[in-house]
Symmetry: C2
Subunit: 194 residues, 2 copies
Amino acid sequence: MPPQPARRSERSRRAILAATQELLTESGYAGLTIESIAARAGVGKQTIYRWWRGKGAVVLEAIAEHLPEATALPDTGDLRADLRGVVRATVAEFADTGASAVTRTLTVEILVDDELAGEVRDRLLRPRLEGVRARLEAARAAGQVRADAPLDQVVELVFGPVYHRWLLRTSPFTESYADALAKLVMTAVTPAGR
Amino acid sequence: MPPQPARRSERSRRAILAATQELLTESGYAGLTIESIAARAGVGKQTIYRWWRGKGAVVLEAIAEHLPEATALPDTGDLRADLRGVVRATVAEFADTGASAVTRTLTVEILVDDELAGEVRDRLLRPRLEGVRARLEAARAAGQVRADAPLDQVVELVFGPVYHRWLLRTSPFTESYADALAKLVMTAVTPAGR
DNA sequence: CCTATATCGATACGCAACGTTGCTCACCCG
DNA sequence: CGGGTGAGCAACGTTGCGTATCGATATAGG
């Protein structure tokens, strides 16, 4: 869909993504418009529209840029400890103001744009979910997880409640909350009689 | 904050709320603007702004209007069956196109407007969550739920995964999905040795 | 029953952001 | 050296927001 990428200005691309991140963490969702990105990056609006479908796509790529490669969970052999690690990290991320602003923008865009939703799911979320899933599979092979547990849904059991609490702002994000959630999930998957 | 409610036109109020619901189910989020509501309702924009803070507040009241009063869960004595009922109902609601459009609009508005988020939480969500919580408390009193289970988080365990799947469109909403989720939650809360 | 006044529908306004278009310049490739 | 293409820039029309204003109307309160 985009024109010939060969002649594309890497300079402009980086400036746009950098400006996007800055504006997002500085002024949150309100401060982020295509025009403000273009102005901050010293770039014509058309240069953005030429390469991206809209605000959401830019944000997605800005995030994907500085994404940690570590998609796989550590496997210490102790499933409970490993799970607690992911949950704590996730909770901490949602509690962080800057990261939360980014997620908020992306979530709004996802709700409005189906196509973007697919990309975010595949490029951003899937790797994370798969990481947890892989760890759960290993645990199941080791007999630490019920054989009949639907692992995809167990993964949602880990992340879903955090999203829920974040979205509806029902209660604050504390470390003890994270640990309690990890414990609940553990109880749900641990084989009977252990 | 609003002016004198005594002279308020009930006719206009109802027309506005009705128009909001129609537009939402007809054309989804895209079709819903203050101006389209005013036009459909045969009402001046000012009449909307006089009584509501914005689009989100109107949608909230339009929903609250035809809200089922039944906030309490049935208590058949069988916790698993009762839980399965709520989960099935919730899943069905999110699977429905019309209801989903309403929720989508409200969710976007919630992400942008903190104050509205509070109202939605208190008036729309809290009763539902409390309903499940009350049922869980009864079950705990009957010894069907672990004494140390954090009930608020158990409630999030029920609804969180559904929101997660809806938001990220990871997998379809089926009845077997709902039942599996209910089963997972049951496993997480059932006392050891049962 | 009468009058003051608040709300009504309607319309116009300024603003902000969208997404598009046209211009000119610089660079790459043949 | 000339055609093509992406670059920055500016301007445009459109849409929706939220505010202001205008007679007309309905109602509260005497």
